[in-house]
C-alpha cells in the first residue's frame, strides 16, 4: 500500500511538471471548463424559469443544483484522473507498449489507472465544489447527510472508474476504442438532471441498466436527507460488484494479450 502511494506521488509529479510546460493550454482548459459548466447550468435554469414551475421531478431549484454540482465534480474527476489514463490503454496496445507495463513489478491495472493526470481540468472540480456549496447554502443540511453523501459519492466515483475501465479494457480485443469516451459521455449527459425528472421507463434504465442515477442523484439525495435506505445500500453494492467484474475482465484481457507483433 505504501509503495503504491509513493508511486502515485511520483507519477503525479512527473505528469504535472510535463503539463505545466505548456502554459498557454491553461487558458484553453479554463474556457472548456466554463463551457461545460454553462451547458450544465443552462439546461436546469431554463427548466426552472418557465412560468409556474416549482420543481422538476419533485426537486426544488437548489436541490437540482446539487445534482448539477455533483455532475460537474464528476466531469472534473473524469477529465483529471480517469480519461487521461484510459484513453492511453488502446494506444499502448496498438503500439505494443503495453508489454512494458505488464513487465513492471507493479500491478498492471494500478499502473494504467494512475500513470497520467490532466491537471489543467482541475477548475472543473473547483466549479463543482462551488456549485455544491452554493446549493447547500440555501438548504437545511445536516452533518450526517453530508457524511452519507461523501461515502455515497465515493462509491459513485468507483462506479465511474469501473465503467470506464471496463469499456477501455475491450481495447485488448477490439484495439480501436477511442470512441468509448464519446459513448460514455452521451449516456452520462443524462446525469445532469435528477433521475426523477425523466419518464418512468427511462428512470429504470438510468438506475439499473446504466447506473447513472448512483453517480449524481443518489449523493444529492443524501445531502438533502431524502434518500431511502435501499438506495443508500445499493450504491456501494453496485460499486463493489462493478469492481469485481472489471477486475475479472482485466485479468481475462491481460491473459489474452499477445503483444502488437503477433
Amino acid at each position: 500500500m505504501r509503495r503504491h502511494l509513493r508511486l502515485m506521488r511520483i507519477f503525479i509529479g512527473a505528469t504535472v511538471s510535463a503539463q505545466l510546460e505548456y502554459r498557454a493550454n491553461f487558458l484553453g482548459a479554463v474556457l472548456a471548463s466554463l463551457g461545460e459548466a454553462g451547458v450544465a447550468l443552462l439546461g436546469i435554469s431554463l427548466l426552472f424559469s418557465q412560468p409556474g414551475v416549482q420543481g422538476v421531478g419533485g426537486w426544488t431549484y437548489r436541490e437540482a443544483l446539487l445534482v448539477t454540482g455533483f455532475f460537474m465534480l464528476t466531469e472534473g474527476f473524469i477529465s483529471v484522473f480517469v480519461q487521461p489514463n484510459m484513453s492511453k490503454i488502446a494506444e499502448t496496445i496498438r503500439t505494443g507498449n503495453m508489454d512494458f507495463t505488464l513487465l513492471k513489478p507493479v500491478d498492471a491495472q494500478f499502473n494504467v489507472s494512475t500513470r497520467h493526470l490532466n491537471v489543467l481540468r482541475f477548475p472543473d472540480i473547483l466549479i463543482g465544489l462551488g456549485l455544491l456549496l452554493y446549493a447547500s447554502a440555501g438548504l437545511t443540511v445536516t452533518v450526517g447527510g453530508v457524511l452519507t453523501a461523501a461515502v455515497l459519492y465515493l462509491s459513485a466515483l468507483v462506479i465511474v472508474y469501473c465503467i470506464w475501465l471496463g469499456l477501455s479494457t475491450t481495447a485488448f480485443w477490439f484495439v480501436k476504442t477511442q470512441n468509448v469516451s464519446e459513448l460514455f459521455n452521451g449516456v452520462f449527459g443524462a446525469a445532469r438532471f435528477p433521475v426523477s425528472a425523466f419518464p418512468v421507463p427511462v428512470r429504470f434504465v438510468l438506475t439499473f441498466v446504466v447506473p447513472v442515477a448512483f453517480i449524481t442523484t443518489v449523493p444529492a439525495q443524501a445531502v438533502t436527507g431524502q434518500i431511502s435506505a435501499p438506495m443508500a445500500l445499493a450504491s456501494p453494492l453496485v460499486a463493489l460488484v462493478l469492481c469485481l467484474l472489471t477486475r475479472l475482465l482485466w485479468r481475462k484481457a491481460v491473459a489474452s494479450y499477445t503483444s502488437a507483433s503477433s
Binding site: 484553453g28 466554463l34 421531478g57 452521451g186 425523466f198
Partner: protein, 267 residues
C-alpha cells in the same frame, strides 16, 4: 466546366470511400449526441406532471416532435474540422497539402458531405424508432421538407466555415479546440437545443435573432413540427446567407494571415 465537374466527382468519390471505412465509428458518434434526447425526455416528463399537461403550450408529443427534429438537424450539421486542422497544423501535416492546386478546405468539405451520406441510413432508422416510442408527429405539408433540407445545407456550410476559422487559430494558439467547445455552447443554447427559443427570456431571444444559430437548428425543427411559416423559412435562409458570406471572408482572411505565420516558422 467539365474539368471542374470531374474534379468534384473524384474528390467526392475518394472522400466517400474513406468515410465508408469509418461506418462503425460514425454510428457511435451519432449515438453520443444525446443532449437533444435528454432534454426531450426531461421536458416531456415535466409537461406530464403539470395539471393541464403542457408547458408553455407544448404537450409531451409536441416536445417530442421538436426535440427529435433538433436531434436530426444537429446530426446533419455535425462538423469536426477544427479538431482535424488542430492536428494538421501542429504536426505539420498541412505542408504537403499546400502543394496541391486546390485549397485544402474543399478536401475537408467533401469529407463532411460524404460522411452525411454514410450517416443518413442509421439516422433515419433511429428517427423512426424514436418517433414510434415518443409519439412525435411531423408536419404533413410537403414544402416543409425541401425547406428544411435547404436550411440545413446553408446552416451546415455556415457552421463549417466558422469551425474552419476556429481551427485555423491553431496557427497561433494550442487551445483552439476549447474555443470550439465554447462556440458550440452558444450554438446549442441559441440554436434551441435546450428548449424552443420561445422558452428563453425575451432579451436572449432579441440577441439570438441577429445570430445565425436559431435559423440552423430551431427553425428547421419548428418547420418539421408544423409551427413555422414559409415566410419565416425564407427570412431564416436570408439571414443564414448573410452570415455565410461573412464567415466566408473571415475564413479567407484568417487563412491568409495564418499561412504567413506558418511559413515564418519555417515549417
Amino acid at each position: 466546366m467539365k474539368w471542374l465537374w470531374h474534379k468534384v466527382r473524384v474528390l467526392f468519390a475518394t472522400r466517400f470511400a474513406e468515410m465508408a471505412e469509418y461506418r462503425a465509428e460514425i454510428v457511435i458518434w451519432m449515438l453520443s449526441g444525446t443532449l437533444s434526447i435528454v432534454m426531450m425526455l426531461v421536458w416531456m416528463a415535466q409537461a406530464q406532471s403539470r395539471p393541464d399537461g403542457t408547458v408553455n403550450g407544448y404537450a409531451p408529443a409536441e416536445f417530442a416532435t421538436y426535440f427529435i427534429s433538433t436531434w436530426f438537424v444537429a446530426q446533419l450539421l455535425v462538423v469536426w474540422v477544427a479538431w482535424e486542422l488542430d492536428i494538421e497544423i501542429r504536426q505539420g501535416l498541412l505542408s504537403p497539402k499546400l502543394l496541391r492546386p486546390m485549397d485544402p478546405m474543399w478536401h475537408h468539405y467533401a469529407s463532411h458531405v460524404a460522411e452525411r451520406l454514410v450517416r443518413i441510413l442509421p439516422m433515419l432508422a433511429l428517427l423512426g424508432l424514436m418517433t414510434w416510442f415518443s409519439g412525435a408527429r411531423f408536419s404533413g405539408e410537403l414544402w416543409v421538407y425541401p425547406a428544411v433540407l435547404g436550411l440545413s445545407v446553408l446552416g451546415f456550410t455556415a457552421r463549417f466555415l466558422w469551425e474552419y476559422t476556429i481551427g485555423l487559430l491553431a496557427f497561433w494558439t494550442e487551445s483552439n479546440t476549447s474555443f470550439q467547445e465554447l462556440v458550440w455552447l452558444v450554438y446549442a443554447a441559441l440554436g434551441g437545443m435546450f428548449a424552443p427559443l420561445s422558452f428563453y427570456p425575451t432579451w436572449v431571444q432579441d440577441i439570438a435573432r441577429w445570430t445565425p444559430f436559431p435559423y440552423m437548428l430551431g427553425l428547421p425543427a419548428q418547420l418539421l413540427a408544423g409551427k413555422a411559416t414559409s415566410e419565416q423559412a425564407w427570412q431564416g435562409a436570408g439571414v443564414l446567407l448573410v452570415w455565410l458570406v461573412i464567415f466566408w471572408f473571415l475564413r479567407a482572411a484568417v487563412w491568409r494571415a495564418g499561412l504567413r505565420k506558418y511559413g515564418a516558422v519555417g515549417a
